[in-house]
Amino acid sequence: MKKITYILLFASAFALTSCYEQKDQIHLRTEVRSDDLGNNIVTRPVAFAFSALIGEGIEINEAFTRINKGGFLELHINGFNRSQFTKKFKYRVEWLDQDGMLIQTKTSVWQRMSAMGKSPFSFKVVAPRREAVNFRMDTRKWE
């Protein structure tokens, strides 16, 4: 019994480790990696159709700020494209001072971003003034 428990624990740990590496650091995409039961030439069209049907899209998982070496606020965005399809979108970051007032800047323009299906994405935006202490971000479809 003890032996079986050890084997199970070892197997679980091994499985978790290998999953972590593949999921977060190395991404073998569909049609590059080997097909499996859940993802193959038969199931893929169904998965794509279902993804479109339920309207999967972009989600932002993390938005954190830091002050860079020049004293400017930097915004780092980490997100994930839940859709099976590549999602193209635009984003615009506006900067706010300590009183919550909008800082007028020519760098607050719509920037283009693209994220491949079922993939994480990241981008960074830098405030052009040291007065910036906060931000607000807007997104829209990239036509």
């Binding site: 400017f72 760098t107 323009v109 920037q111 036509e143």
Partner: protein, 205 residues
């Protein structure tokens, strides 16, 4: 018969007026207009924004003593097939760099000469007979101008590629670099690519 002709003329007038495209303002904040093959203001906005953010993030403009660098704009070449005033890019970059508090721009020297000719005109007055007409305390003395420490230069160029039978690909490259004029060392550089694909019939110049 006469009434009939008048009616036809009036109807034609109404139809022509109805076909005329009304002039409207562009919503530059949220422009949803179609992309064009040539460079438009959105491309310059995007390129300038990326350039400024890269410069500020790099720390290349952080002066060791905490002061501000004196910067000038050198030569920005337009190597595209379009008639572009490169100030369309540089005015935005200069404005944002100035407002960042990292640099102060000089109008005394630049790739296109002094951006404000009055600097030299007032000095010409000082050195001419007319100079006697001015209060000497209000005329700029010699040795007052500050030389630039950094220069920003670069170019915009274009490549047209046949994509397939019906489409072309146009690539626009924006390249800028910041050089320390004292020692010639390059502090920063960046290239921004804006690519467009469209009909062969569209003209990218």
């Amino acid at each position: 018969m006469k009434t009939g002709i008048f009616q036809i003329i009036a109807l034609t007038g109404v139809l022509i007026a109805g076909c005329e495209q009304k002039t409207s303002y562009i919503d530059t904040m949220h422009d949803t207009g179609k992309a064009v093959m040539a460079l438009d203001y959105r491309d310059f906005d995007q390129a300038a924004s990326e350039m400024v953010q890269s410069m500020l993030a790099s720390g290349a403009l952080n002066k060791a003593d905490g002061g501000r660098y004196v910067m000038t704009t050198g030569r920005i070449m337009n190597d595209t097939m379009q008639r572009i005033d490169t100030d369309q890019l540089m005015a935005k970059v200069e404005e944002e760099l100035l407002n960042s508090g990292q640099v102060v721009m000089t109008s005394a020297v630049g790739g296109k000469g002094a951006s404000d000719q009055m600097i030299y005109q007032t000095r010409d007055i000082r050195d001419s007979d007319v100079g006697d007409e001015f209060d000497s305390d209000t005329v700029a003395a010699k040795g007052q101008l500050i030389a630039p420490e950094l220069s920003i230069a670069g170019k915009i160029f274009q490549r047209n590629i046949r994509y397939d039978n019906n489409r072309q690909q146009v690539e626009y490259y924006f390249q800028l670099q910041v050089t320390n004029l004292t020692n010639g060392l390059r502090f920063w550089q960046k290239e921004t690519l804006i690519g467009k694909r469209g009909s062969n019939k569209s003209v990218a110049w």
